[in-house]
Symmetry: C2
């Protein structure tokens, strides 16, 4: 199973419009440091699934027929806004699997165009080609699912954005599931106060609790990038801060099917 981080940014991305911090200036001068809307492409054999649709150039990145499905974590604009254009396509249908959110986003349900929305239920496994996916409830301001994704060819990958902590049942599921790779919301540097996303401290705790083979932090805000530049903290073993364009190969570990 191959995972491509198409976007690793928090809402607003990096550089943040109008911001002059070191991280935003660096991204303004270094394409490799730009963070676009958080999303990933998951491939296994000839199966290709896009997780989240916040990139606004999906119609240019993915020619008709090149995606088996889109799977949404939730309906915030930075995770679905690419659908506003894609939906008006012609001569194809695109299945879009999503949490059971009765509102959706703007008029997507009213005018779905070529999109076929299919509401998922928590913990109810579904199959897309060579991938099986289990929706895992997360903790966010809208109904949000992470996904435990397994390839028939081997390899277990958990994708968990957007969230602030994990519900007990989701955590328990992941602790027994033993992910080979984990992508986890880590939007902020260490901080206190109410949260809608993981900060660095909470993300590190979750990585330790789940103990995946490898962990990738994503949904990164400019303040976290800035903090990383100035603090250079020691990352937990096997943990990487993902960048746009990073590609990882997820293979099963000994003891996995």
């Amino acid at each position: 199973m191959r995972v491509t981080f198409l976007g690793t940014g928090a809402a607003g991305g990096v550089p943040l419009y109008g911001c002059g911090c070191t991280a935003c200036k660096r991204a303004g001068n270094t394409p490799r440091c730009v963070r676009r809307p958080c999303s990933a492409l998951v491939e296994s054999g000839d199966t290709r699934v896009l997780i989240d649709a916040g990139l606004t150039d999906l119609h240019e990145r993915f020619p008709p027929g090149s995606l088996d499905a889109i799977v949404l974590t939730h309906f915030h604009p930075d995770h679905v806004q690419g659908l506003f254009h894609l939906r008006w396509g012609k001569g194809l249908r695109i299945p879009v699997y999503a949490p059971p959110d009765s509102e959706g986003c703007a008029d997507l349900y009213k005018h779905p165009g070529v999109l076929e929305f299919r509401a998922l239920a928590k913990f109810e496994v579904f199959t897309l080609g060579k991938l099986t996916l289990t929706p895992l409830p997360l903790i966010h301001s809208r109904v949000t699912f992470g996904y435990a994704i397994e390839s028939l060819a081997g390899g277990r990958f958990a994708y968990l954005t957007d969230t602030a902590g994990l519900p007990p049942r989701t955590l328990a599921h992941l602790q027994s599931w033993r992910a080979d790779a984990l992508a986890l919301d880590c939007s902020h540097p260490p901080r206190t106060g109410p949260a809608n996303h993981n900060d660095w401290t909470l993300a590190a705790e979750i990585v330790s609790s789940i103990a995946p083979g490898q962990a990738w932090l994503t949904h990164v805000g400019h303040q976290l990038d800035e903090w990383l530049l100035h603090t250079a903290p020691v990352l937990p073993a096997g943990t990487t801060v993902a960048m746009d364009g990073d590609v990882i190969e997820v293979a099963g570990r000994p003891g996995h099917p």
Copy 2:
């Protein structure tokens, strides 16, 4: 007054995703024939106003401070989706003038970020730098305003999308106002049946009724481009089908202030 057609496309744009018609194939091979979300930049002296925000790269096109305001015709996604990213900016405020639509689009009102929404009232004139604007009700599936825009330096420009026909009071206003230039919704080739946009026939009638110095047809769908390729109809005098990037200078006519 200078007007730049930043986008001249109907929802879905040209090329339409997945479409193989002659117009979509041509646009796929000819950047000049691409039609992006319908929007325009209006400038007079150092005043710069963006009409509609459907382009998703506004944060790249317009550095902080380069726009005096954004003026919206209505809250359909293809006219506002660029705001989803722009709003998370830092260190600036962007006034966004809009029709009185209590819902807005998605969570723009709930999380406006740097956007300052200001609801307009029909026919109540407002001033932005060297421009005065009069909101004109249009006929569309959401509350929608066109704008009669006058430069203090001379020149009258009417921008009328999205609409199917014109309400009597709007038409009367424009007939007495004598626009030097008109940009008008013309989404479809001649057709029958219920409409949410002008077709070619209705647009031509409106141009004749208003009798502007020049008319530019915009919000063009791929079927209209296809029809124009195959039919080559005679355009009404002084009328042009706008293309993305077209720039027009609007000067006052004799008898205007």
